[in-house]
């Protein structure tokens, strides 16, 4: 393992409710300072992977039954979920999960608990407002009334306050307008660049994910089926067809032309 690996997941298996196996020997690594993306269809187990890494599985009656996860040089097995956050691993969960009853500012305050016992200087909220001026306008309003995009901004803002070493981002583009997707991914890239924080990014919007990521993994039913540097992935035939919607030649095919036939992915056969 390279010395500058911040996260390494080795052959983990995850089972929900002691019965449903979702991950079957999944491995991946994130190098320090890099953005890595994890793609896959619905139900492949992407969110499950992230929850396994941040130890949040137990809340949903799931458990890692095999394999190991190492974060920042130490296995996470003994860490509590909040302990892990305080070690510098921040999980921006699927569906935003902001605290609806709290104001925007209180949401950010809540994230300051991630700094407890770390001896780092707290970030001023202005940093967040700098990236997301719209949050500043609504800082005293209840977060539950923010629109979807604003909530996503707040979720990322909380991650900034926590000054993590690694951010796990679960579908940050979900439900966002095209321009916001661009904007937020721009900011994600900027944050990565400016603060050097590593990121593991789960996305359905493969095109934008490839735009910011250095490396990518593609998973299918609980296993990694393909991985490589982004440049290589975008030129893969199946990735182009199934994730970028390009049939053979140039440009995306039209949705009107799609017919009811089931195509097969190479990596499944």
């Amino acid at each position: 393992m390279a010395a500058d690996t911040i996260l390494s997941v080795e052959n983990i298996e995850v089972v929900y409710n002691k019965t449903i196996q979702v991950l079957r020997g999944l491995s991946l690594t994130v190098e320090r300072g890099k953005v890595v993306t994890l793609l896959g269809s619905n139900g492949a187990g992407k969110s499950t992977t992230l929850k396994a890494i941040s130890s949040l599985l137990s809340l949903e009656d799931g458990a890692v039954t095999a394999g190991s996860i190492t974060f920042d040089g130490k296995a996470i097995a003994d860490d509590t979920p909040h302990g892990l956050v305080r070690r510098g691993l921040f999980h921006v969960m699927e569906g935003r999960r902001i605290f609806e009853d709290l104001t925007v500012e209180e949401n950010l305050t809540a994230a300051t608990f991630a700094l407890s016992g770390r001896g780092v200087k707290p970030t001023s909220f202005d940093v967040v407002y700098g990236y997301f001026p719209r949050l500043y306008e609504r800082r005293h309003g209840r977060a539950g009334y923010l629109s979807g995009g604003e909530q996503q901004m707040l979720a990322i803002g909380r991650a900034l306050i926590a000054q993590p070493k690694l951010i796990l981002l679960d579908e940050p583009s979900l439900g966002l307008s095209p321009i916001l997707v661009e904007e937020i991914f721009g900011i994600i890239a900027r944050i990565n660049r400016e603060t050097g924080v590593s990121m593991l990014l789960v996305e359905q919007n493969a095109a934008v994910a490839f735009a910011v990521a250095h490396y990518g993994y593609i998973m299918e039913t609980g296993k990694i089926v393909l991985d490589g540097p982004t440049e290589r992935l975008v030129s893969d035939q199946d990735v182009r067809e199934f994730y970028l919607g390009m049939s053979g030649g140039e440009g995306a095919r039209s949705y009107r032309d799609v017919k009811h036939y089931k195509r097969r992915k190479r990596w499944l056969s």
Binding site: S41, N42, G95, S147, R193, F242, Y243, V258
Partner: protein, 274 residues
């Protein structure tokens, strides 16, 4: 396949809705042609979902009218609108998690059924007959159509996100929609799944003759399948027209679309990095 219905038209006129001081919808007017797919797009927080909520009767707008086939329905309650033929799906999936797929779909028909409480308690007779008719129809027209035969007896909570979205569509179809409101039907889906859903939407329009109003942020799909596009921003209509017209409207590009091109984003990021 079921006989197509007469498609309905929808007209929103001068609609305004505010929450406390916040004007979520501000004097909005637009219309949806019978049998068309109309897309309602706009930035986050522009008021699209609120608009859907007004149309389906969940929110009571302070001003304005909603006309369905020319008739003002703004004073009716959600259940009445369901009976008239309004059907919708939800931005955050709102399936009934304690029920099976089949029951979820059957539930969609609620407003059109007649069984009363006494018949229900006795079951045999009217209730049983009505249930059997419904079951046969749902099986024939919806379950087969949306290819969800294999999951009909499964509890919805155990389904993957994509299938849940499809069950929501099925439930909306069971409502005998004359106008179908779809709130972000393909959000969170990858390209492949989006293609499937797009196909279903087109089929519903073509084979059922249902008018469709759709909110969606996936511009690839919106521009491909919709006949007409309305753009909201800060609760106001800023543009409307054919997809390609809207796509080129500078105001829309600035407020909503952006470059619309991942390649451009990649390039921009590379430049910034340098």
């Amino acid at each position: 396949m079921r006989a197509p219905m007469k498609p309905a038209s929808l007209e929103v006129a001068g609609l305004s809705l505010s929450f406390g001081g916040l004007k979520a919808i501000n004097d909005v007017s637009f219309s949806v042609e019978p049998g068309s797919i109309t897309a309602l797009i706009g930035p986050n927080g522009a008021g699209k979902t609120s608009m859907f909520n007004c149309i389906s009767g969940f929110y009571k707008p302070q001003r304005g009218a909603i006309r369905f086939d020319g008739e003002d329905v703004s004073r009716t309650h959600p259940p009445e609108r369901a009976r008239m033929g309004f059907a919708r799906t939800f931005q955050n999936i709102a399936l009934f998690r304690g029920m099976t797929v089949l029951d979820n779909i059957k539930l969609g028909r609620h407003a059109h059924m007649k069984t009363n409480i006494f018949q229900a308690l006795a079951y045999f007779g009217t209730a049983a007959r009505e249930e059997m008719e419904l079951r046969a129809e749902v099986e024939r027209d919806i379950i087969d159509f949306l290819e969800i035969n294999h999951i009909r007896h499964m509890p919805v909570a155990s389904l993957s996100y994509g299938l849940q979205k499809r069950v929501e569509l099925a439930r909306a179809l069971a409502m005998r929609p004359r106008i179908l409101l779809l709130d972000e039907p393909v959000a969170g889906m990858n390209r492949e799944e989006t293609e499937d859903m797009a196909r279903f939407i087109l089929d519903v329009k073509e084979e059922w003759g249902t008018t469709i109003l759709m909110v969606e942020h996936d511009m690839g799909m919106v521009m491909d399948i919709s006949d007409h596009v309305v753009v909201l921003n800060f609760g106001q209509v800023i543009a409307s027209g054919l997809p390609h017209e809207v796509q080129e409207n500078p105001q829309v590009v600035e407020a909503y679309l952006g470059s619309g091109d991942p390649a451009a984003l990649m390039k921009r990021l590379a430049e910034e990095a340098a």
